[in-house]
């Protein structure tokens, strides 16, 4: 059976998680290629619709990565992001999509090791959950009709 390789979108704050990801690279730490990074000026810039759209358009998991509590460059962007993540999780629950597919994490710019660890853990968590049911349905719809079988 084909191994399921999840697609994970990570919205990373420029001031912490994005730099931490960079540091993970500099430190030659391995983390799965499944994690696709989108750099944002602050985790507070990530709107609920960005999280929803990522999942709607095929991501299997979404990470919002911001600064440690109290360390936000814009004071409270990370706190707002955490609340929005909780809100979107309730919306996902309503439509029967596992809320665990979305998570908020925090780290400082120097935590390259933590970034790599989180990327590994979250990828494993999503791998266990399996493909996003919406993405699977989308793929099935897009697939060409099966060729008629001869008896």
């Amino acid at each position: 059976m084909e191994t399921f390789e999840p697609v994970i979108v990570a919205f990373c704050c420029h001031y912490c998680a994005y730099t931490a990801a960079d540091m993970a690279g500099t430190m030659r730490l391995d983390y799965p290629a499944n994690v696709k990074i989108v750099r944002v000026p602050c985790s507070g810039k990530v709107d609920p619709i960005h999280m929803m759209k990522a999942l709607e358009l095929g991501a299997d998991g979404v990470l919002v990565a911001g600064c440690l509590e109290g360390d936000c460059h814009f004071k409270t962007g990370n706190v707002k992001a955490a609340r929005r993540v909780t809100y979107v999780q309730t919306q996902l629950e309503e439509i029967g999509v596992e809320p665990q597919r979305l998570a908020m994490v925090t780290m400082s710019a120097g935590m390259g090791t933590r970034f790599a660890a989180i990327a590994n853990e979250f990828t494993e968590q999503i791998r266990k959950l399996g493909p996003n049911p919406v993405a699977a349905a989308r793929k099935a719809q897009a697939a060409p009709a099966p060729v008629a079988q001869v008896n």
């Binding site: 929803m52 759209k53 919306q91 439509i95 029967g96 349905a137």
Partner: protein, 222 residues
Amino acid sequence: MITAERKPLAEIIDYIDNCRRILLVGCNECVTVCAAGGRKEVAMLASAMQMDFMKRGKTVDIREMTLERQCEPEYVEELAPFIDQADAVVSMACGCGVQEVVRRFRGKRVYPAVNTSFMGAAERPGVWAERCHGCGNCLLGLTGGICPIARCSKRLMNGPCGGSSKGKCEVSTEIDCVWQLIWDRLKELGIEDRYEEIILAKDWRTERGGGPRKIVREDLAQ
């Protein structure tokens, strides 16, 4: 502003489950301010509906639109070019907006996506509280600018009931006793003697007692 809250997704989906083309319409006024039915909420609901349908192997075509004011015919008219391409309209405006769309497009099914709640003000970001009941005969001039109709659980007009305790209402400790607020305000203004004045029994015909209400300004009416 008129406040509203989005309905549970299951209820909305139940209305439109047999439809394949949906016109999802928000409003740029009150429901935008109370984060229930503005452009952002329209996008969120469209995404949630899309995901719900896809998950069940169904396809749905959702057109998102947000009108300047859904309670005015001039703006509702903007839906006309798109209305025939939709099996149903889902409105995220207050009840007034929903009914204005119904009035203009008689042959179209129109469903509400929000529960219209009350006329209120923002206490702080994300928290809205009832402030006006629309009784049609404003008492604020007598009560220090604080409304006992909208904010007293019993709509009492001459002081608190026995359930007032430590400035809170017996219904919930989260509700201020409005007559405590009124008394404090009258004292601040140095007009506590106003409290002694008896407010006569209210004429509720200006509220709903006289049936559905209408305002006609002869100089403006066409």
